[in-house]
């Protein structure tokens, strides 16, 4: 039960993240606004559904606590997977176009934004 919920929370976050991160993997993809909203709604619904399930199985005090912890951990798992995914998917995808992609993080940001 708990494992399934972990998947729910995890992959729902994955779905919610697709719009922003997808260009890192597919390079020249561009999701339309409608699809983006759809994915984010689906992701959020899955997360809320996971909360409901956890409250049902764990009780009103343990449920939200487990949910909150799982939310963080699964988000971190998604970030780690996304970090290393390009290495595995790059050979199978079409090569990126010559112009700079629309994704912001590929543009070298001034290294000192957060430091003085």
């Amino acid at each position: 039960m708990i494992a399934t919920l972990m998947l729910f929370a995890g992959w729902s976050l994955m779905a919610a993240s697709q719009p922003k991160q997808v260009s890192r993997i597919v390079r020249h993809a561009h999701l339309s606004g409608g699809i983006r909203i759809g994915m984010r709604s689906a992701g959020t619904s899955l997360q809320l559904f996971a909360l409901v399930l956890l409250v049902r199985t764990e009780g009103p005090s343990f449920g939200p606590l487990v949910w909150a912890c799982l939310l963080s951990i699964s988000a971190m798992a998604v970030a780690l997977i996304l970090a290393w995914l390009p290495r595995f998917t790059a050979p199978t995808l079409p090569s990126p176009p010559a112009n700079g992609s629309a994704h912001r993080s590929d543009r070298p940001r001034a290294a000192g934004t957060a430091i003085r």
């Binding site: 708990i2 993240s17 922003k20 991160q21 005090s61 343990f62 606590l65 487990v66 909150a68 912890c69 799982l70 939310l71 963080s72 951990i73 988000a75 971190m76 998604v78 970030a79 780690l80 996304l82 970090a83 290393w84 390009p86 290495r87 912001r104 993080s105 290294a111 000192g112 934004t113 957060a114 430091i115 003085r116």
Partner: protein, 516 residues
């Protein structure tokens, strides 16, 4: 102080991070280990790796009580064994005023030999909340300040993180080391933000009466001692100076349970032992709730009658105990416990990457300007991160390497272990100062060797090797620790290899640090 709010928060985040980062890492690291402090205790005290009897009889605690009586202690705290601590623990004050802790078999009540170690619950856990600095309670105040600054760091961190939602999942290990450090710092911080904030504030709220007693003084004036009674229903009475026997513990517990309805006690605190006015304070175990509940019952020692029972029912007190419970995590919920451990490690990564990012971004600038700031912080960072891990492992390895009862230069093992810890920690600082950026490789190798060595020593000295420990339910704590040690050894080894490779490939100035 700076023209814009964001710039001020940038300054605050940077400087409180640099100054307190090492301390914060130590507190977070010891706290993360304390999630499994009872399990580490089992690892360091092999004689306590017993099976918890499901049919535990409270009268098995009688011999422990008798031992305390013989020591003429004014009170004796008897901890009821449970799944995580399958031994009866008795704490009392010996005739010479010294504090004594003894363990007893839960089935027979026979005393177990002195385990000759502080273990996790008396070294690692107190380190977490007081840095083991007992003079004037200064350790509590330093930790308290660190807790407040952790919250300030979280707030300022969010303020200065401009694209917090765009970069929500951004972690690019393929970029330059400084970018990668910052990415990881942001990911660990933002994704774990609820945990970092809640754990910091809840830790502080536990000690609310120590850190902010002014509100208690203000409304109670001279009657401040009444606070405990009014908030939690505490009870006390002086001894009658007439000897009397204590009734059976099973009777006493039954009386307490009549006040609670259901639930078992987690401790029996006997006041005025051996006296006609003896009474026992029992607290209901909080294994089935999040809150660190205080449902106390007071039972007369001579008759077994219920004297009084109290539990905070008013909102502020109930809230405080719930918040405290979020930090104490005394509940029985293994999934949640492991989740807390994982999030605690994320907190450690957060702090370490923050320090590393600062070092990386200042290293070249300081070298060309002739400033030593970055070099000092780098040495301190290495010592605080990998050095602390090495010292912790050395603590555990010493426990297994030195047989029970041995002493070094006349100092018994229980004292040698903390000495080794601090000595190794100091040596790691020296090593870091001498080797600068190259120190990481050596220290990662040391972690790997020590972690693996710990597992080997456990097998050699106790015979509970990981495979056997996984098969036997009562040894699962040992299995958990050994497996974690093995995984840590592998990660440390891989890190050392990658760092060495990067060091050979890169120039001197790009010798960098990777977080675990």
């Amino acid at each position: 102080m700076e023209p814009t709010f964001r710039a001020s928060m940038n300054w605050l985040h940077t400087w409180s991070g640099v100054v307190l980062g090492s301390l914060l890492f130590a507190i977070f690291w010891m706290g993360t280990l304390s999630v499994f402090d009872k399990e580490i205790d089992r690892w360091m005290m092999p004689a306590s790796r017993l099976a918890w009897p499901a049919d535990f009889s409270y009268d098995a605690m009688r011999p422990a009580y008798q031992a305390a009586l013989a020591a003429k202690s004014p009170s004796v705290l008897l901890l009821v064994p449970n799944e995580r601590t399958p031994v009866i623990t008795g704490l009392w004050r010996a005739a010479d005023g010294s504090f004594a802790q003894h363990m007893f078999d839960p089935r027979t009540g026979a005393e177990l030999p002195d385990q000759g170690t502080l273990g996790a619950s008396r070294f690692i856990y107190p380190f977490h909340y007081s840095l083991n600095l007992k003079v004037l309670g200064i350790g509590y105040w330093i930790v308290g300040l660190c807790g407040m600054m952790m919250m300030a760091l979280c707030v300022s961190g969010v303020v200065i993180h401009r694209k917090i939602f765009t970069d929500f999942f951004t972690f690019r290990p393929e970029r330059k080391i400084r970018r990668t450090m910052l990415d990881l710092h942001n990911v660990a911080g933002v994704l774990g933000l609820p945990f970092h904030v809640v754990i910091s504030v809840s830790g502080l709220v536990i000690l609310f009466s120590l850190y902010f007693p002014s509100s208690i003084w203000a409304v109670y004036r001279q009657d401040a001692r009444l606070f405990g009674r009014e908030a939690y229903g505490t009870f006390a009475r002086p001894p009658a100076k007439r000897p009397a026997d204590l009734v059976s513990f099973d009777t006493i517990v039954a009386s307490a349970k009549s006040a609670w309805g259901q639930g078992e006690p987690n401790y029996l605190y006997v006041f005025n032992p051996g006296d006609a006015a003896a009474y026992v304070q029992l607290n209901r175990s909080s294994e089935d709730v999040v809150s660190n509940i205080s449902h106390v019952a007071y039972v007369d020692g001579a008759t077994g009658e219920l004297l009084s029972a109290g539990k905070p029912e008013k909102p502020a007190a109930v809230t405080q105990r719930f918040i405290a419970g979020l930090h104490f995590i005394q509940f029985r919920h293994w999934t949640l416990r492991w989740l807390y451990f994982g999030l605690g490690l994320a907190g450690c990564v957060l702090i370490a990457t923050g320090l590393l990012f600062w070092v990386e971004s200042r290293r070249d600038r300081h070298r060309t300007l002739g400033r030593s700031g970055a070099r000092v912080v780098e040495a301190v960072t290495v010592a605080s991160v990998t050095g602390l891990l090495i010292a912790t492992l050395a603590f555990m390895v010493t426990n297994r390497a030195l047989p029970l009862g041995t002493s070094v230069f006349g100092v018994e093992r229980g004292v040698v272990e903390p000495v080794v810890f601090h000595l190794i920690w100091l040596l790691s600082l020296l090593h870091a100062w001498l080797f600068a950026g190259r120190a990481w490789v050596g220290q990662c190798r040391a972690i790997s060797v020590l972690a693996g060595g710990a597992v080997l020593l456990n097998t050699v000295t106790t015979g509970d090797h990981p495979i056997r420990a996984l098969a036997d339910r009562q040894l699962w704590p040992i299995a958990g620790i050994d497996v974690t040690l093995i995984i840590s050894a592998v990660i440390a080894a891989l890190a050392a290899i990658r760092l060495a490779r990067r060091g050979r490939a890169g120039t001197g100035s790009s010798m960098e640090a990777e977080s675990r």
